[in-house]
């Protein structure tokens, strides 16, 4: 019977909140007070951590606890070193605070240096954008890891200015959390001892691990309010999360390293948490504020969508074009130039526009006037890492295909380095999108206002077609979609224009006929 009791005692012994071996070995002796035999729960009063009003063998238990408390304390001190190590993630701070419409700034001076600790809202540097000098302040509390520009450099909006090890990249709450983390462990030790020494006082604290307490603090919750579902009413991580959810608190992302910090000894449990954290990170939403080209795309597409568009599809046979390109390549007049299809499409488009100038026009809604543009400034849509840009080639009607090829190459180079000038991107009169270079057969492109037409060229595919002798042969065909402003242009005009263009592409020798 006593043996059974002993065994029960062992099982009933509560797991300590801290990794302690000390508390395990000196067991409370059950013989000194006959424990009621009505089940496990009744053995709980033996737990030194729960009952403050123990009379039986209290002195021995107390001293036992004292001993274990000391061990805990020591343990607290060692974990403190862990907590002091940099715990935050490295954050790249971009130049972003200078307001809309400004593309770049000159860095004037730094107020901080590498290795320095900074507070939230502390000024980091001063930049100049045209007429204004502006102080950039820090969004994070942390330590400067690396400074990427020197005074005098021109920084583009969006470029990373410096890197900070943010103590917690999330919210101001957490800076307070970090300070408390070091004292969390010692708090727990103290409150436990206080609990046991206080007699008849209300039990104030709840059982939980330092990590869970930290988590509760991050959510701004009082851990005492949370109902624990763990052993001995212990508050677990799930309890905190559920409570937070019930309170409708937005979930924040605790950094991975904090998990390690809070669980130095309970490695197994810690690891489980660690994996859980990783998983959670994969499923979280990411917010991307739109800036620069992406932002202007929002505006321009919104405007464009208000215009009544219609779309016209046509198929163009590119066999002759392919032969022509091969011929250009073989002749090798300009060795550094790579010949592609696009310049040819552009030149033939310009020739067709000469016959149908309405498609190279601009509509003024206010005055209900159509302005037939004199220059064929053909815009070419380019997908860059910075977003969609449409630089244009000026006066295509007076350029040769070789000149168009070179200018196109120059614009592509500038676009990919985000070095297009405003001259390059303004003044366009019609736009071509070679979306086929990436993929796709059909499109319904939106107009690039105030232009009235836009052309999307799909991928050139090899498809079976009939030749003049009604024999099937493999033809290279590209689908083109022409989008047009139906307030200005009607279907018949677009159809005729497209026929003209198609003819020039399919029979390039006709270009010679019209060449100036």
């Amino acid at each position: 019977m006593v043996m059974a009791l002993r065994r029960l005692c062992r099982y009933a012994r509560p797991r300590p909140p801290l990794p302690l071996a000390a508390i395990q070995s000196p067991r409370p002796s059950p013989e000194s007070a006959p424990p009621p035999l009505s089940g496990l729960s009744s053995l709980l009063p033996l737990s030194p951590l729960l009952r403050a009003d123990r009379t039986l063998a209290s002195s021995s238990l107390y001293s036992l606890f004292e001993g274990s408390y000391t061990a805990t304390r020591n343990r607290c001190l060692t974990t403190q070193a862990w907590v002091d190590a940099p715990t935050g993630e490295v954050v790249e701070v971009p130049l972003a605070q200078t307001g809309e419409g400004i593309a770049e700034c000159e860095l004037l001076k730094w107020f901080v240096k590498e290795g320095e600790e900074v507070e939230e809202f502390q000024p980091l540097c001063e930049v100049q954008s045209d007429k204004a000098t502006i102080e950039i302040t820090s969004r994070y509390k942390g330590k400067i890891l690396q400074i990427l520009f020197v005074p005098g450099d021109i920084v583009k909006v969006g470029e990373t200015l410096l890197k900070i090890i943010a103590e917690d990249a999330q919210s101001p709450l957490t800076s307070e959390c970090h300070e408390d983390a070091t004292s969390l462990n010692s708090d727990l030790c103290e409150s436990d001892s206080q609990r046991s020494s206080r007699k008849g006082e209300d039990f104030k604290g709840v059982l939980s691990t330092p990590f869970v307490r930290h988590l509760a603090k991050q959510y701004g919750l009082n851990i005492n309010d949370i109902q624990g579902t763990g052993i001995d009413g212990r508050v677990l991580k799930e309890d905190v999360l559920n409570y937070a959810a019930s309170k409708g608190i937005q979930e924040e992302r605790p950094s991975l390293s904090q998990v390690n910090v809070g669980e130095p000894g309970l490695l197994k449990e810690g690891k489980a948490f660690h994996m859980h954290m990783l998983d959670e990170k994969c499923y979280e939403d990411t917010t991307i504020p739109l800036r620069g080209f992406q932002r202007s795309m929002v505006k321009s597409m919104t405007m464009s969508a208000k215009v009544p568009h219609f779309h016209y599809l046509e198929e163009i046979n590119c066999d002759a074009l392919i032969e022509l390109k091969a011929a250009f390549q073989n002749e090798n007049t300009a060795p550094n130039v790579k010949h592609t299809f696009l310049p040819f499409f552009i030149k033939s488009l310009s020739m067709a526009l000469s016959k149908y100038p309405l498609l190279n026009s601009s509509f003024n809604e206010a005055t209900t006037e159509v302005i037939l543009k004199g220059c064929h400034n053909i815009g070419v849509a380019m997908a860059t890492t910075y977003g969609l840009v449409v630089p244009n080639i000026k006066k295509v009607q007076s350029l040769s295909i070789l000149e168009i090829t070179k200018e196109l190459s120059r614009l592509q180079q500038m676009a990919s380095n985000n070095k297009l000038s405003s001259e390059d991107i303004t003044g366009g009169t019609i736009t071509i999108s070679n979306i086929g270079a990436i993929g796709g057969k059909f499109g319904s492109p939106l107009l690039n206002l105030p232009e009235v037409a836009i052309i999307a060229i799909g991928r050139i595919q090899k498809l079976p077609r009939f030749d003049d002798d009604e024999i099937v042969y493999p033809a290279s065909v590209a689908n083109v979609t022409i989008g047009a402003d139906h307030r200005v242009v009607d279907g018949a005009t677009v159809a005729r224009f497209c026929n003209e263009w198609k003819l020039l592409v399919e029979k390039p020798e006709l270009l010679l006929l019209h060449m100036r």
Partner: protein
């Protein structure tokens, strides 16, 4: 900020009216008020005592001024604490500066563009009826892919009547405060303009015009200086509760704390000139 509200609910603004105060002293005052005061201020300086060239914080003398004539005629050159371009100021210039807390004007974001809009609207009210006042756009710093949007969303930097500029602006924005200062061309001496080079980075509307064709004199549009100044103060009264402060309470030439605006020494100018000459000489040889 509640401390600054008076009974009619408008924030308080201290007004300092100066006359012919040296521009360097004015700049020191402004910077000191920006960095060490928590009140809102308006400084009006009706003309400055002698011609000075004032460059922005990162101005390079060799690019902006005609060093040869500046050295010959000993024109003082100052580098101020705010950004922006180069001006030559004299007794025909009227200076108006606003120094405010970030939240002084409800809804106004402390960024260059909004500040420019707000001040532009203020001066539009001031000059209502005297001329076709508007804000002139600067396209250089815009990166928009669609041409039409440059009309919708331009960045205004100058005050103009017709297509001629009569006021130049500069700003400095700190963590909690901002300063927006303007030098108005009440009148100017054409000879003085020759000390300045035509900037290589200029707004499109300038179209390489020489200073004469690009600028205009306010005196041709507004009856008197005091009309302009009084109307400015009145217009301010729509946003602030304006309280005049005597200049003796604020001007403190001995206080050089927070004074990053500085007068360039003759030596610095000479060095700039000689290195410029070297560059030109070398360039000439290599050609």
């Amino acid at each position: 900020m509640i401390l600054h509200r008076v009974r009619d609910g408008l924030p308080l603004m201290n007004l300092v009216s100066l006359r012919a105060v040296p521009i360097l002293q004015q700049l020191h005052l402004e910077e000191r008020l920006l960095r060490s005061s928590s009140d809102n201020w308006c400084i009006i300086n009706d003309g400055t005592n002698r011609p000075n060239i004032v460059m922005g914080i990162s101005g390079r003398p060799s690019e902006l001024i005609d060093l040869k004539s500046v050295l010959r005629d000993r024109v003082p050159v100052i580098r101020r604490f705010s950004g922006g371009g180069t001006v030559i100021v004299d007794d025909g210039t009227i200076f108006v500066t606003f120094i405010c807390n970030k939240d002084a004007i409800p809804g106004l974001q402390p960024y260059p563009h909004p500040l420019m809009s707000w001040t532009g609207q203020l001066y539009k009210d001031v000059l209502h009826g005297f001329g076709d006042f508007h804000l002139q756009e600067n396209e250089i710093f815009l990166y928009y892919m669609y041409a039409s949007l440059t009309v919708l969303d331009t960045y205004f930097t100058d005050y103009a009547i017709g297509s001629r500029k009569f006021g130049g602006n500069a700003q400095s924005i700190t963590k909690n405060r901002w300063v927006h200062h303007t030098s108005f061309l009440w009148d100017y001496d054409i000879k003085n303009m020759e000390y300045l080079k035509i900037p290589s980075r200029a707004p499109k509307y300038r179209s390489a015009r020489p200073h004469v064709e690009f600028l205009c004199r306010m005196t041709e549009y507004v009856p008197s200086r005091s009309t302009f100044i009084e109307r400015t103060i009145a217009s301010l009264g729509n946003h602030f509760s304006v309280k005049p402060i005597h200049q003796d309470r604020v001007i403190d030439p001995s206080n050089t704390l927070h004074s990053s605006s500085k007068l360039l020494t003759r030596q610095e100018l000479e060095e700039a000139y000689s290195s410029l000459c070297e560059k030109l000489h070398i360039a000439a040889i290599s050609v």
